[in-house]
Symmetry: C2
Subunit: 198 residues, 2 copies
Protein backbone atom coordinates (compact mmCIF):
# COMPACT_ATOMS: atom_id res chain seq x y z
CA UNK A 1 0.00 0.00 0.00
CA UNK A 2 1.13 3.51 -0.71
CA UNK A 3 1.12 5.81 2.24
CA UNK A 4 -1.36 8.64 1.99
CA UNK A 5 -0.27 12.04 3.11
CA UNK A 6 -2.39 15.08 3.76
CA UNK A 7 -6.10 14.40 4.28
CA UNK A 8 -6.50 11.24 6.30
CA UNK A 9 -9.13 8.60 5.57
CA UNK A 10 -10.61 9.09 9.05
CA UNK A 11 -12.89 6.79 11.00
CA UNK A 12 -14.41 4.30 8.53
CA UNK A 13 -17.81 4.28 10.29
CA UNK A 14 -18.00 8.06 10.24
CA UNK A 15 -16.98 8.18 6.58
CA UNK A 16 -19.61 5.61 5.69
CA UNK A 17 -22.29 7.49 7.64
CA UNK A 18 -21.42 10.67 5.74
CA UNK A 19 -21.47 8.86 2.38
CA UNK A 20 -24.84 7.27 3.20
CA UNK A 21 -26.30 10.63 4.15
CA UNK A 22 -24.81 12.15 1.01
CA UNK A 23 -26.29 9.49 -1.31
CA UNK A 24 -29.72 10.05 0.23
CA UNK A 25 -29.48 13.82 -0.01
CA UNK A 26 -28.15 13.90 -3.57
CA UNK A 27 -30.77 11.42 -4.81
CA UNK A 28 -33.68 13.05 -2.95
CA UNK A 29 -32.87 16.73 -3.40
CA UNK A 30 -30.50 16.75 -6.36
CA UNK A 31 -26.91 17.93 -6.37
CA UNK A 32 -27.60 21.66 -6.31
CA UNK A 33 -30.15 21.62 -3.49
CA UNK A 34 -28.28 19.16 -1.26
CA UNK A 35 -26.17 20.96 1.37
CA UNK A 36 -23.09 19.79 3.20
CA UNK A 37 -24.63 21.24 6.35
CA UNK A 38 -27.73 19.02 6.04
CA UNK A 39 -25.68 15.96 5.09
CA UNK A 40 -23.48 16.49 8.15
CA UNK A 41 -26.56 16.84 10.37
CA UNK A 42 -28.02 13.56 9.05
CA UNK A 43 -24.70 11.80 9.64
CA UNK A 44 -24.44 13.37 13.12
CA UNK A 45 -21.12 15.10 12.48
CA UNK A 46 -19.83 18.64 12.16
CA UNK A 47 -19.88 20.10 8.61
CA UNK A 48 -16.18 20.87 8.99
CA UNK A 49 -15.51 17.13 9.28
CA UNK A 50 -17.26 16.50 5.96
CA UNK A 51 -15.03 19.10 4.32
CA UNK A 52 -12.04 17.63 6.08
CA UNK A 53 -12.75 14.10 4.84
CA UNK A 54 -14.02 14.83 1.33
CA UNK A 55 -13.09 18.38 0.35
CA UNK A 56 -15.68 20.07 -1.87
CA UNK A 57 -19.32 19.14 -2.48
CA UNK A 58 -18.25 17.92 -5.94
CA UNK A 59 -15.69 15.60 -4.37
CA UNK A 60 -18.21 14.32 -1.82
CA UNK A 61 -20.65 13.59 -4.63
CA UNK A 62 -18.02 11.66 -6.64
CA UNK A 63 -17.11 9.64 -3.53
CA UNK A 64 -20.78 8.98 -2.69
CA UNK A 65 -21.48 7.48 -6.08
CA UNK A 66 -18.13 5.68 -6.51
CA UNK A 67 -17.55 7.68 -9.67
CA UNK A 68 -14.83 6.08 -11.77
CA UNK A 69 -13.52 9.45 -12.95
CA UNK A 70 -13.42 13.07 -11.89
CA UNK A 71 -15.06 15.05 -14.70
CA UNK A 72 -13.59 18.18 -13.14
CA UNK A 73 -10.20 16.93 -14.34
CA UNK A 74 -11.29 15.32 -17.59
CA UNK A 75 -13.65 17.88 -19.07
CA UNK A 76 -11.22 20.82 -19.24
CA UNK A 77 -8.87 18.69 -21.37
CA UNK A 78 -11.73 17.83 -23.74
CA UNK A 79 -12.56 21.51 -24.14
CA UNK A 80 -8.98 22.50 -25.02
CA UNK A 81 -8.39 22.87 -28.75
CA UNK A 82 -10.43 23.46 -31.89
CA UNK A 83 -14.11 23.97 -30.94
CA UNK A 84 -15.16 21.99 -34.03
CA UNK A 85 -13.34 18.96 -32.62
CA UNK A 86 -15.08 18.96 -29.23
CA UNK A 87 -17.42 16.15 -30.30
CA UNK A 88 -14.59 13.86 -31.33
CA UNK A 89 -12.54 14.68 -28.23
CA UNK A 90 -15.54 13.95 -25.99
CA UNK A 91 -16.09 10.53 -27.60
CA UNK A 92 -12.36 9.77 -27.38
CA UNK A 93 -12.18 10.71 -23.67
CA UNK A 94 -15.39 8.77 -22.91
CA UNK A 95 -14.07 5.62 -24.61
CA UNK A 96 -10.72 5.98 -22.85
CA UNK A 97 -12.54 5.76 -19.49
CA UNK A 98 -14.89 2.93 -20.46
CA UNK A 99 -12.15 0.87 -22.13
CA UNK A 100 -9.82 1.32 -19.11
CA UNK A 101 -9.86 -0.53 -15.76
CA UNK A 102 -12.13 2.27 -14.47
CA UNK A 103 -14.68 1.09 -17.04
CA UNK A 104 -15.71 -1.76 -14.73
CA UNK A 105 -16.87 0.76 -12.14
CA UNK A 106 -18.69 2.76 -14.82
CA UNK A 107 -20.41 -0.40 -16.03
CA UNK A 108 -21.45 -1.31 -12.49
CA UNK A 109 -22.93 2.17 -12.10
CA UNK A 110 -24.87 1.87 -15.35
CA UNK A 111 -26.20 -1.58 -14.48
CA UNK A 112 -27.25 -0.38 -11.06
CA UNK A 113 -28.98 2.72 -12.48
CA UNK A 114 -31.11 0.50 -14.68
CA UNK A 115 -32.45 -1.58 -11.81
CA UNK A 116 -32.47 0.98 -9.03
CA UNK A 117 -34.36 4.27 -9.15
CA UNK A 118 -32.03 5.91 -6.63
CA UNK A 119 -28.90 5.09 -8.54
CA UNK A 120 -30.67 6.32 -11.67
CA UNK A 121 -31.23 9.66 -9.92
CA UNK A 122 -27.59 9.84 -8.85
CA UNK A 123 -26.45 8.99 -12.37
CA UNK A 124 -28.74 11.69 -13.76
CA UNK A 125 -27.28 14.23 -11.34
CA UNK A 126 -23.76 13.10 -12.19
CA UNK A 127 -24.28 13.38 -15.95
CA UNK A 128 -26.03 16.74 -15.62
CA UNK A 129 -24.03 18.60 -13.01
CA UNK A 130 -20.58 17.05 -13.29
CA UNK A 131 -20.19 16.39 -17.01
CA UNK A 132 -22.69 18.23 -19.20
CA UNK A 133 -22.76 21.48 -17.24
CA UNK A 134 -18.99 21.78 -17.51
CA UNK A 135 -19.03 21.10 -21.23
CA UNK A 136 -22.03 23.25 -22.06
CA UNK A 137 -21.05 26.36 -20.14
CA UNK A 138 -18.12 26.71 -22.53
CA UNK A 139 -20.18 26.54 -25.71
CA UNK A 140 -21.14 29.61 -27.69
CA UNK A 141 -24.80 28.67 -28.22
CA UNK A 142 -28.26 29.85 -27.11
CA UNK A 143 -28.39 29.14 -23.35
CA UNK A 144 -32.05 28.14 -23.67
CA UNK A 145 -31.02 25.16 -25.82
CA UNK A 146 -28.36 23.85 -23.45
CA UNK A 147 -30.53 21.34 -21.58
CA UNK A 148 -31.76 19.72 -24.80
CA UNK A 149 -28.24 19.70 -26.28
CA UNK A 150 -26.87 18.14 -23.12
CA UNK A 151 -29.44 15.40 -22.89
CA UNK A 152 -29.07 14.55 -26.59
CA UNK A 153 -25.33 14.10 -26.02
CA UNK A 154 -26.19 11.85 -23.08
CA UNK A 155 -28.46 9.63 -25.22
CA UNK A 156 -25.66 8.94 -27.71
CA UNK A 157 -22.96 8.44 -25.08
CA UNK A 158 -24.92 6.13 -22.81
CA UNK A 159 -26.10 4.14 -25.82
CA UNK A 160 -22.50 3.76 -26.98
CA UNK A 161 -21.53 2.45 -23.53
CA UNK A 162 -24.53 0.10 -23.47
CA UNK A 163 -23.86 -1.43 -26.88
CA UNK A 164 -20.07 -1.62 -26.56
CA UNK A 165 -19.84 -2.87 -22.99
CA UNK A 166 -23.17 -4.29 -21.78
CA UNK A 167 -25.13 -5.70 -24.75
CA UNK A 168 -21.82 -6.12 -26.68
CA UNK A 169 -23.21 -5.71 -30.16
CA UNK A 170 -20.59 -6.23 -32.86
CA UNK A 171 -18.82 -4.54 -34.54
CA UNK A 172 -19.24 -1.65 -32.07
CA UNK A 173 -18.19 -3.92 -29.18
CA UNK A 174 -14.70 -4.58 -30.63
CA UNK A 175 -14.23 -1.58 -32.91
CA UNK A 176 -11.04 0.44 -32.72
CA UNK A 177 -11.81 3.52 -30.61
CA UNK A 178 -10.78 5.84 -33.44
CA UNK A 179 -13.40 4.29 -35.76
CA UNK A 180 -16.04 5.18 -33.20
CA UNK A 181 -14.54 8.63 -32.66
CA UNK A 182 -14.77 9.30 -36.39
CA UNK A 183 -18.29 7.88 -36.72
CA UNK A 184 -19.89 9.28 -33.55
CA UNK A 185 -17.85 12.47 -33.03
CA UNK A 186 -19.86 14.40 -35.67
CA UNK A 187 -23.11 13.36 -33.94
CA UNK A 188 -21.92 14.79 -30.63
CA UNK A 189 -20.63 17.91 -32.38
CA UNK A 190 -24.03 18.49 -34.00
CA UNK A 191 -25.82 18.01 -30.68
CA UNK A 192 -23.41 20.48 -29.04
CA UNK A 193 -23.28 23.25 -31.63
CA UNK A 194 -25.33 22.36 -34.73
CA UNK A 195 -28.80 23.60 -35.62
CA UNK A 196 -31.55 22.10 -33.47
CA UNK A 197 -35.34 21.99 -33.82
CA UNK A 198 -36.93 24.80 -31.82
CA UNK B 1 -61.83 -11.81 -23.33
CA UNK B 2 -61.92 -11.88 -27.08
CA UNK B 3 -62.25 -15.29 -28.58
CA UNK B 4 -59.26 -16.40 -30.62
CA UNK B 5 -59.91 -18.15 -33.86
CA UNK B 6 -57.47 -20.12 -35.98
CA UNK B 7 -54.27 -21.25 -34.24
CA UNK B 8 -55.10 -22.34 -30.70
CA UNK B 9 -52.94 -21.53 -27.69
CA UNK B 10 -52.43 -25.27 -27.01
CA UNK B 11 -51.34 -27.00 -23.82
CA UNK B 12 -49.73 -24.33 -21.59
CA UNK B 13 -47.05 -26.72 -20.28
CA UNK B 14 -46.06 -27.77 -23.79
CA UNK B 15 -45.99 -24.15 -24.97
CA UNK B 16 -43.80 -23.16 -22.02
CA UNK B 17 -41.43 -26.09 -22.64
CA UNK B 18 -41.06 -25.01 -26.26
CA UNK B 19 -40.47 -21.38 -25.27
CA UNK B 20 -37.86 -22.42 -22.68
CA UNK B 21 -36.04 -24.55 -25.24
CA UNK B 22 -36.25 -21.69 -27.75
CA UNK B 23 -34.79 -19.11 -25.34
CA UNK B 24 -31.88 -21.44 -24.60
CA UNK B 25 -31.25 -22.20 -28.26
CA UNK B 26 -31.50 -18.59 -29.45
CA UNK B 27 -29.23 -17.32 -26.67
CA UNK B 28 -26.66 -20.12 -27.01
CA UNK B 29 -26.49 -20.54 -30.79
CA UNK B 30 -27.92 -17.28 -32.09
CA UNK B 31 -31.04 -16.83 -34.17
CA UNK B 32 -29.62 -18.06 -37.47
CA UNK B 33 -28.01 -21.25 -36.14
CA UNK B 34 -30.89 -22.26 -33.87
CA UNK B 35 -33.24 -24.74 -35.56
CA UNK B 36 -36.88 -25.48 -34.91
CA UNK B 37 -36.01 -29.17 -35.18
CA UNK B 38 -33.46 -28.95 -32.32
CA UNK B 39 -35.76 -26.76 -30.21
CA UNK B 40 -38.56 -29.29 -30.64
CA UNK B 41 -36.21 -32.13 -29.65
CA UNK B 42 -35.16 -30.31 -26.47
CA UNK B 43 -38.81 -29.67 -25.61
CA UNK B 44 -39.68 -33.30 -26.39
CA UNK B 45 -42.26 -32.47 -29.05
CA UNK B 46 -42.65 -32.88 -32.79
CA UNK B 47 -41.33 -29.95 -34.91
CA UNK B 48 -44.75 -29.75 -36.56
CA UNK B 49 -46.24 -28.86 -33.17
CA UNK B 50 -43.79 -25.94 -32.82
CA UNK B 51 -44.89 -24.63 -36.21
CA UNK B 52 -48.51 -25.23 -35.27
CA UNK B 53 -48.22 -23.26 -32.03
CA UNK B 54 -45.91 -20.46 -33.13
CA UNK B 55 -45.75 -20.31 -36.92
CA UNK B 56 -42.36 -19.25 -38.27
CA UNK B 57 -38.97 -19.18 -36.54
CA UNK B 58 -39.28 -15.38 -36.44
CA UNK B 59 -42.60 -15.67 -34.61
CA UNK B 60 -41.21 -18.24 -32.19
CA UNK B 61 -38.30 -15.93 -31.43
CA UNK B 62 -40.60 -12.96 -30.77
CA UNK B 63 -42.75 -15.12 -28.46
CA UNK B 64 -39.68 -16.52 -26.66
CA UNK B 65 -38.40 -13.05 -25.78
CA UNK B 66 -41.80 -11.46 -25.10
CA UNK B 67 -41.05 -8.93 -27.81
CA UNK B 68 -43.39 -5.94 -27.50
CA UNK B 69 -43.57 -5.50 -31.27
CA UNK B 70 -43.19 -7.47 -34.46
CA UNK B 71 -40.49 -5.71 -36.48
CA UNK B 72 -41.62 -7.73 -39.48
CA UNK B 73 -44.75 -5.56 -39.49
CA UNK B 74 -43.18 -2.29 -38.37
CA UNK B 75 -40.00 -2.09 -40.44
CA UNK B 76 -41.63 -2.24 -43.90
CA UNK B 77 -43.71 0.84 -42.98
CA UNK B 78 -40.57 2.70 -41.94
CA UNK B 79 -38.90 1.90 -45.23
CA UNK B 80 -41.80 3.21 -47.31
CA UNK B 81 -41.29 6.73 -48.61
CA UNK B 82 -38.41 9.09 -49.28
CA UNK B 83 -35.10 7.28 -48.56
CA UNK B 84 -33.68 10.51 -47.06
CA UNK B 85 -36.42 10.39 -44.43
CA UNK B 86 -35.71 6.85 -43.22
CA UNK B 87 -33.80 8.12 -40.17
CA UNK B 88 -36.68 10.32 -39.03
CA UNK B 89 -39.26 7.61 -39.68
CA UNK B 90 -37.21 5.08 -37.71
CA UNK B 91 -36.97 7.41 -34.69
CA UNK B 92 -40.70 8.17 -34.94
CA UNK B 93 -41.66 4.48 -35.07
CA UNK B 94 -39.27 3.63 -32.24
CA UNK B 95 -40.70 6.36 -29.99
CA UNK B 96 -44.26 5.32 -30.86
CA UNK B 97 -43.50 1.85 -29.45
CA UNK B 98 -41.62 3.04 -26.37
CA UNK B 99 -44.18 5.74 -25.54
CA UNK B 100 -47.09 3.27 -25.94
CA UNK B 101 -48.35 0.63 -23.48
CA UNK B 102 -45.99 -1.82 -25.22
CA UNK B 103 -43.14 0.37 -23.97
CA UNK B 104 -43.39 -1.22 -20.52
CA UNK B 105 -42.47 -4.60 -22.02
CA UNK B 106 -39.62 -3.00 -23.97
CA UNK B 107 -38.33 -1.36 -20.80
CA UNK B 108 -38.52 -4.66 -18.92
CA UNK B 109 -36.50 -6.29 -21.69
CA UNK B 110 -33.86 -3.56 -21.57
CA UNK B 111 -33.59 -3.72 -17.77
CA UNK B 112 -33.26 -7.48 -17.91
CA UNK B 113 -30.62 -7.35 -20.64
CA UNK B 114 -28.48 -5.13 -18.45
CA UNK B 115 -28.43 -7.55 -15.51
CA UNK B 116 -28.64 -10.87 -17.33
CA UNK B 117 -26.13 -12.05 -19.94
CA UNK B 118 -28.67 -14.39 -21.55
CA UNK B 119 -31.26 -11.70 -22.04
CA UNK B 120 -28.48 -9.48 -23.39
CA UNK B 121 -27.75 -12.14 -26.01
CA UNK B 122 -31.42 -12.43 -26.93
CA UNK B 123 -31.69 -8.65 -27.20
CA UNK B 124 -28.60 -8.58 -29.41
CA UNK B 125 -30.10 -11.23 -31.69
CA UNK B 126 -33.40 -9.38 -31.75
CA UNK B 127 -31.84 -6.05 -32.67
CA UNK B 128 -29.57 -7.63 -35.27
CA UNK B 129 -31.78 -10.18 -37.01
CA UNK B 130 -35.26 -8.76 -36.54
CA UNK B 131 -34.75 -5.00 -36.82
CA UNK B 132 -31.43 -3.98 -38.34
CA UNK B 133 -31.21 -6.73 -40.96
CA UNK B 134 -34.62 -5.76 -42.32
CA UNK B 135 -33.70 -2.08 -42.46
CA UNK B 136 -30.22 -2.53 -43.85
CA UNK B 137 -31.01 -4.97 -46.64
CA UNK B 138 -33.05 -2.21 -48.26
CA UNK B 139 -30.29 0.40 -48.21
CA UNK B 140 -28.20 1.22 -51.24
CA UNK B 141 -24.81 1.20 -49.49
CA UNK B 142 -21.62 -0.88 -49.42
CA UNK B 143 -22.66 -4.24 -47.91
CA UNK B 144 -19.34 -4.45 -46.04
CA UNK B 145 -20.35 -1.40 -44.01
CA UNK B 146 -23.78 -2.71 -43.00
CA UNK B 147 -22.76 -4.24 -39.65
CA UNK B 148 -21.07 -1.02 -38.47
CA UNK B 149 -23.98 1.11 -39.72
CA UNK B 150 -26.46 -1.14 -37.95
CA UNK B 151 -24.67 -1.16 -34.64
CA UNK B 152 -24.20 2.63 -34.74
CA UNK B 153 -27.96 3.00 -35.20
CA UNK B 154 -28.43 0.68 -32.22
CA UNK B 155 -26.18 2.83 -29.99
CA UNK B 156 -28.28 5.93 -30.62
CA UNK B 157 -31.64 4.17 -30.34
CA UNK B 158 -30.90 2.26 -27.15
CA UNK B 159 -29.39 5.38 -25.60
CA UNK B 160 -32.54 7.33 -26.46
CA UNK B 161 -34.66 4.65 -24.77
CA UNK B 162 -32.36 4.61 -21.72
CA UNK B 163 -32.38 8.37 -21.21
CA UNK B 164 -36.06 8.91 -22.00
CA UNK B 165 -37.52 5.94 -20.12
CA UNK B 166 -35.01 4.51 -17.63
CA UNK B 167 -32.67 7.27 -16.40
CA UNK B 168 -35.34 9.88 -17.32
CA UNK B 169 -33.00 12.74 -18.06
CA UNK B 170 -34.82 15.98 -18.86
CA UNK B 171 -35.69 17.47 -21.27
CA UNK B 172 -35.35 14.27 -23.34
CA UNK B 173 -37.60 12.39 -20.90
CA UNK B 174 -40.62 14.66 -21.51
CA UNK B 175 -39.82 16.10 -24.95
CA UNK B 176 -42.45 16.02 -27.67
CA UNK B 177 -41.64 13.04 -29.90
CA UNK B 178 -41.35 15.29 -32.96
CA UNK B 179 -38.60 17.33 -31.29
CA UNK B 180 -36.62 14.12 -30.86
CA UNK B 181 -37.45 12.98 -34.39
CA UNK B 182 -36.08 16.26 -35.76
CA UNK B 183 -32.98 16.22 -33.53
CA UNK B 184 -32.03 12.53 -33.74
CA UNK B 185 -33.42 11.60 -37.18
CA UNK B 186 -30.42 13.13 -39.02
CA UNK B 187 -28.05 11.11 -36.79
CA UNK B 188 -29.78 7.86 -37.77
CA UNK B 189 -29.85 8.94 -41.40
CA UNK B 190 -26.10 9.57 -41.38
CA UNK B 191 -25.41 6.20 -39.73
CA UNK B 192 -27.61 4.50 -42.36
CA UNK B 193 -26.46 6.20 -45.54
CA UNK B 194 -23.88 8.93 -44.82
CA UNK B 195 -20.11 8.69 -45.23
CA UNK B 196 -18.43 6.50 -42.60
CA UNK B 197 -14.79 6.07 -41.56
CA UNK B 198 -13.26 3.07 -43.35
Amino acid sequence: MTRRTGRRPGNPDTREAILDAARTAFAERGFDAASIRAIAATAGVDPALVHHYFGSKDQLFLAAMNAPIDPGEMVPKVLLGDPDGTGERLVRAFLAVWDSPAGAAAQALLRSAVSNEWTARLLREFVTTQVLRRVLENLDVDPGQLPLRGSLVATQMIGLAMMRHVVRLEPVASADPEVLVAAIGPTIQRYLTGPLPT
